[in-house]
């Protein structure tokens, strides 16, 4: 079970959180110019990397705040935690 550093509450057990999937997915637009392929990509296509993954987490059983996590999917090491809306800061693995 992961130990996640909530930026508002501090380190808490994974059981208190909800994972919201991949971060930094931008909605394409304007609507009239987006073809079906780009919509399908936006709605359904997700990365499944072996290594660093950026994902959104919700501290559901705590402060109820969303934030971003950079996590290594192999070792489960949490590389960085940063607020929503921030651009991706570089980590040591650097993607």
């Amino acid at each position: 079970m992961l130990l996640i550093l909530c930026p508002y509450c501090g380190p808490r057990a994974e059981i208190e959180f909800r994972c919201g999937g991949e971060s930094h997915i931008e909605r394409p637009g304007p609507y009239s110019e987006v073809d079906d392929g780009a919509w399908a990509d936006y709605l359904f296509t997700r990365k499944n990397p072996k290594g660093e993954h950026r994902e959104r987490w919700l501290h559901a059983a705590g402060c109820r705040q969303w934030f971003n996590v950079a996590r290594d999917t192999v070792s489960h090491t949490i590389l960085a935690v940063y607020p929503m809306g921030k651009t991706r800061p570089p980590t040591e693995a650097g993607t």
């Binding site: 079970m1 992961l2 130990l3 057990a13 994974e14 070792s75 489960h76």
Partner: protein, 455 residues
């Protein structure tokens, strides 16, 4: 002939007799015994039957690694199936029965399976009993195989769940674990020391080799006292670390009241711990390996180190006429200890042709040495009566030697389960995969663990 209790020795309390029932008959042991040691002391060598062919099985080990001594504890709603006799501490009024034997342990009708074993290979019944329908045959087949019986009533006991945090968690309280806990406690951090047995010490409880210039017992006593006096050290006995999860989370299973008679149990019987640790130190020791040979599952075949545990903890001898089969030096220590306790060692069969100082010690005690040979077949019906051996090299002849107990030692396997679960490779035990784990003692490939820890 089978096991018996020595007149003196052991760490049992001989002033407190404990009555218990095994297979419907009443026996007596001492406080401090396990069910296994008490059975052995009462001369019981047959404790179970194998899963399918119902072959006779006896006690093979003295602790967690026991494969054969699987029993049903207590009766009615409090019954627990498939517990290891070596891990059940004896209490007054304990009731245990063998699992899946009909009509009795000594005369098991299903043992007839063994006679036709050539014709019932693995998965035979799944293919044969398909017509007209598997469900016609399934109940009787399921009854024939399998182990204990699950209780039909709700569990009357209470259980508890607890979270904890600690800076350092040490798994295993052998020499390496105790030394690690002591060193960690010096720096003032919070330390948890977890031991599956009711007593600290691990191998130190059996071995008589000196540690840091004093006897193992004296060192252990001093170290235990030092640990108990420190307010930042928590010692959990009868507790098994069963899982090493992400980010330093360890699962522990504590048996709080299992060793007490049912009427003296208050509060929860067992506790599940989820401990988040800054650093995990795995000092889980090693298990002895058995030898492969025909009928090595006969009652009377036992691990050499386990025989030493029975002798030094419970003053129980596993037999009266013992043969040892080994490929390493550690079994000689066992042989000499048994010999010093007045038990006959008929021979030591060693697969090596040149053996060091330990062989000279054995020869001085007039123990017959058979070098360059290995056991090939154990003979006997419900207990081993002789073992035949064959040469590994050309220097020895094929032969046979009579015995009522065969102790085997095929070397040592480090207990790497938690280490492997943490994602590390067993072959490189000195290099843990994660920054929050480290390995000491036997699993790190070090035999004299204290020397390494002093670094």
């Amino acid at each position: 002939m089978s096991g018996w209790r020595l007149k003196s020795g052991g760490t049992i309390d001989r002033d407190r007799r404990v009555r218990f029932q095994w297979d419907g008959r009443s026996y007596e042991g001492f406080a401090g015994d396990t069910l296994a040691s008490a059975l052995l002391a009462n001369g019981i060598s047959l404790v179970g039957r194998s899963f399918k062919y119902h072959r006779p099985r006896g006690l093979f080990a003295a602790g967690l690694e026991e494969p054969n001594g699987i029993v049903q504890l207590e009766a009615d709603e409090a019954t627990i199936p498939n517990l290891k006799a070596t891990q059940i501490e004896l209490y007054d009024g304990l009731i245990a029965t063998p699992v899946n034997v009909k009509p009795s342990l000594e005369f098991d009708l299903m043992a007839a399976n063994s006679l036709v074993k050539r014709f019932i290979p693995a998965a035979f019944y799944y293919k044969t009993f398909m017509w007209p329908g598997w469900h016609w045959f399934e109940p009787s087949i399921r009854r024939a195989a399998g182990l204990g019986t699950a209780p039909a009533e709700p569990d009357p006991d209470a259980y508890e769940h607890r979270f904890a945090h600690t800076d350092i968690l040490v798994v295993g309280a052998g020499a390496a674990g105790i030394a690690a806990a002591l060193a960690a406690a010096e720096s003032g951090t919070s330390v948890m020391l977890v031991e599956v047995e009711p007593e600290l010490g691990g191998g130190l409880r059996d071995e008589k080799q000196p540690v840091e210039g004093q006897s193992a017992t004296a060192w252990l006593k001093k170290a235990t006292k030092a640990l108990a006096s420190k307010s930042n050290v928590t010692i959990l006995r009868r507790t098994m670390a069963f899982g090493f999860y992400d980010h330093g989370l360890i699962g522990l299973h504590e048996r709080i009241a299992d060793h007490l008679p049912p009427d003296q149990r208050h509060g929860p019987r067992q506790r599940l711990w989820k401990v988040r640790c800054g650093q995990v130190i795995l000092a889980t020791g090693a298990f002895e390996r058995p030898f492969p040979f025909a009928r090595n599952d006969l009652p009377g075949v036992m691990l050499a180190s386990s025989a030493l545990s029975y002798l030094s903890r419970y003053a129980v001898a596993p037999g009266r006429n013992i043969v040892i089969a080994t490929n390493n030096d550690s079994a000689y220590t066992v042989g000499l200890a048994l010999h010093d306790a007045g038990i006959q060692i008929s021979a030591i069969i060693d697969s090596r042709t040149t053996v060091g100082a330990c062989a000279r010690d054995a020869e001085e005690k007039a123990i017959r040495l058979i070098l360059g040979a290995a056991p090939v077949r154990a003979k006997g019906r419900l207990r081993i009566e002789s073992v035949s051996f064959a040469p590994v090299s050309s220097t020895t002849e094929t032969g046979s030697v009579g015995c009522d107990t065969l102790l085997v030692s095929g070397g040592w396997n480090p207990t790497v389960h938690l280490h492997s679960q943490s994602g590390a490779c067993a072959a490189s035990a000195q290099r843990p995969s994660r920054p929050d784990a480290s390995v000491y003692g036997r699993p790190s490939g070090c035999r004299r663990s204290l020397g390494r820890f002093a670094e």
